[in-house]
């Protein structure tokens, strides 16, 4: 039996598969990771982590509610490649859980998912996905590799403020003159698929984009989520003139930005939206 059918059955089966003990012992982070893994394994238990009566979907291509999630997965049965889900980093910030995942889900993808929990159950979901061809970037990094060690939990708020300011000052272009204050010299590990390490790598990428007439614009920050040395910025802008959702994950070391992973997704035109929840409404 295919995974999708299993999951669909789980959706229909309401609360039968829940193990109340497990519901209480698992952290929100573990539940989120398990739910994503269920796409690969067909683990029906994980479906129980979602609030079946109230699940607000922000992925514009998936219908609202748990049924919508199930229907999206049903499509997997027709897809030739077996789904694979490997969450490489995950952290909690209040009721939110952020997961960074190496997917093969209708083809290989890099993705960030954000889940919001209420009373131990998932009630809301946002994500940003992009196809990824497996090629390392000019400095040999992938969108997934690099440091995974989480630390500096006492610096979460300071690091979130730093990233918010960086996005405003530099990416939104409000104070580009502050650029170098955010970095420890040229030390900046870059996981963007087409940019090399360092501020010089960023400079070269900007120059090439300018040469091709491509503009990368950030207009608004929707959400900053963080835990210790990792901070995710959810922003919106335009890339080459197309409305774009940016998910940028930064690793902060000693008050400076040290490493960066990102996923960019073109925002589908309104005519294709499956609901009116908004891609980035928090």
């Amino acid at each position: 039996m295919s995974i999708a059918v299993c999951l669909l059955a789980a959706c229909g089966g309401k609360k039968n598969n829940q193990n109340p003990e497990e519901m209480n012992t698992l952290t929100n982070k573990e539940k989120a990771v398990a739910l994503l893994k269920a796409i690969e394994t067909g683990d029906t238990v994980a479906i129980g982590y979602v609030n079946a009566e109230n699940y607000k979907q922000h992925n514009l291509g998936v219908e609202d509610g748990l049924d919508g999630f199930g229907r999206a997965l049903a499509g997997l049965a027709d897809f030739p490649e077996k789904a694979k889900v490997n969450t490489v980093r995950a952290f909690e910030d209040g009721d939110y859980v952020v997961c960074q995942t190496d997917y093969n889900f209708f083809g290989p993808k890099a993705g960030f998912d954000i889940f919001r929990f209420e009373d131990g159950k998932i009630v809301e979901h946002w994500d940003n996905l992009m196809p990824y061809n497996g090629q390392p970037n000019p400095s040999g990094h992938t969108p997934f590799d690099g440091t995974t060690e989480m630390k500096d939990l006492d610096k979460t708020e300071a690091n979130k403020a730093l990233v918010r300011n960086f996005v405003q000052d530099v990416l939104m272009g409000q104070h580009p003159e502050n650029l170098t204050h955010y970095f420890d010299g040229n030390n900046y590990i870059q996981h963007n698929v087409s940019i090399a390490d360092g501020l010089d790598g960023l400079g070269a990428a900007l120059a090439e984009m300018a040469e091709q007439g491509i503009k990368m614009e950030y207009f608004t920050i929707h959400k900053i989520l963080g835990s210790g040395n990792f901070v995710l910025a959810v922003s919106e802008g335009a890339f080459a003139g197309k409305p774009t959702s940016y998910y940028d994950l930064f690793r902060v070391e000693n008050g400076k930005i040290a490493e960066h992973w990102d996923v960019m997704e073109t925002i589908a035109p309104e005519s294709e939206w499956k609901h009116q929840n908004g891609k980035s409404n928090f």
């Binding site: 170098t180 501020l199 900007l206 120059a207 090439e208 300018a210 040469e211």
Partner: protein, 286 residues
């Protein structure tokens, strides 16, 4: 096959729509640009910052091995080439003279920068890590500003900061030119513009509104050579570029530089360089 002339690469002022006379580009994009040849002259000023790889570059007849941190300064008309390339990457800040002059009330600002001076000991500078990071940061700031607001005043300020930081790091002191010296700088500019057609001292004295005698005196005092010898050496330098980087026939070079006859050109060239033009073309390393 060498070209019969050295191609000139022009600044694209309309690249971003409205006229903008400053830009930061990569070595790669320069190479992909229209009319690019391995050996060329830029019609604009450049600060090329090597960011990675290694190789050998040559600016204005001086070659230098390049690796991360090397800055090469190119003036309009300087012949630039990458002679050896092992994955060389670079960012080049480029701008036109007018971009600064349209604002600054100091027409000699660019000439007072030691690395753009006619008297510079070398067109290169190696940056330490902290200055490298600072300069890369400024380059990226310029790019972000170009991508966003494109405020020419801010861009000018950023360019100015880059030029002054590099001036401080450049290993010679420059005095602000006093009156006579600024006349000599202007004389050098005029020679640069007119050396191919105007070889007489009178022409330059006239342009500067001074007598030939006075011009001779200040040139001798400042540059340590006569006006005539200075003009002649500028012509010979140009002949060297053409011999080295183009296949232009010697008779044509002689004509181009307004020597009376090719044999006079050969004699003058040999006197200054110790080699005949043909020897120089075949073996320019000496």
């Amino acid at each position: 096959m060498k070209e019969t002339h050295i191609p000139v690469i022009k600044f694209r002022r309309d690249k971003y729509g409205d006229e903008l006379m400053v830009d930061v580009v990569t070595l790669d994009t320069i190479r992909k640009s229209k009319g690019f040849q391995e050996v060329l002259r830029q019609s604009f000023y450049g600060v090329m910052l090597t960011t990675g790889g290694s190789g050998e570059v040559e600016v204005d007849g001086v070659s230098c091995s390049a690796s991360k941190g090397l800055v090469a300064f190119a003036r309009p008309g300087d012949v630039c080439t990458v002679r050896e390339d092992n994955g060389l990457t670079a960012l080049e800040l480029i701008f036109e003279r007018d971009f600064l002059l349209s604002f600054f009330n100091d027409p000699h600002f660019l000439d007072s920068l030691p690395y753009y001076s006619h008297l510079r000991p070398s067109p290169y500078l190696v940056l330490d890590e902290s200055l490298y990071n600072k300069i890369v940061g400024l380059f990226v700031e310029i790019q972000i500003e170009i991508a966003n607001e494109r405020d020419v005043h801010l861009l000018r300020a950023l360019l100015y900061e880059v030029l002054v930081l590099l001036q401080k790091a450049f290993p010679i002191e420059t005095k602000k030119p006093v009156n006579a010296e600024s006349r000599v700088v202007r004389f050098q500019e005029l020679v640069n513009e007119h050396f191919a057609t105007e070889t007489g001292v009178d022409f330059y004295a006239d342009k500067l509104c001074v007598t030939p005698n006075y011009l001779n005196r200040i040139v001798q005092r400042t540059l340590g050579q006569t006006t005539k010898a200075y003009i002649q050496s500028r012509r010979i330098d140009e002949a060297k570029h053409l011999l080295r980087y183009s296949a232009m026939p010697i008779g044509l070079i002689s004509d181009r530089l307004h020597f009376d006859t090719p044999s006079y050109f050969v004699r003058a060239f040999t006197k200054v360089t110790g080699q005949t033009p043909l020897q120089f073309r075949n073996c320019p390393e000496k």
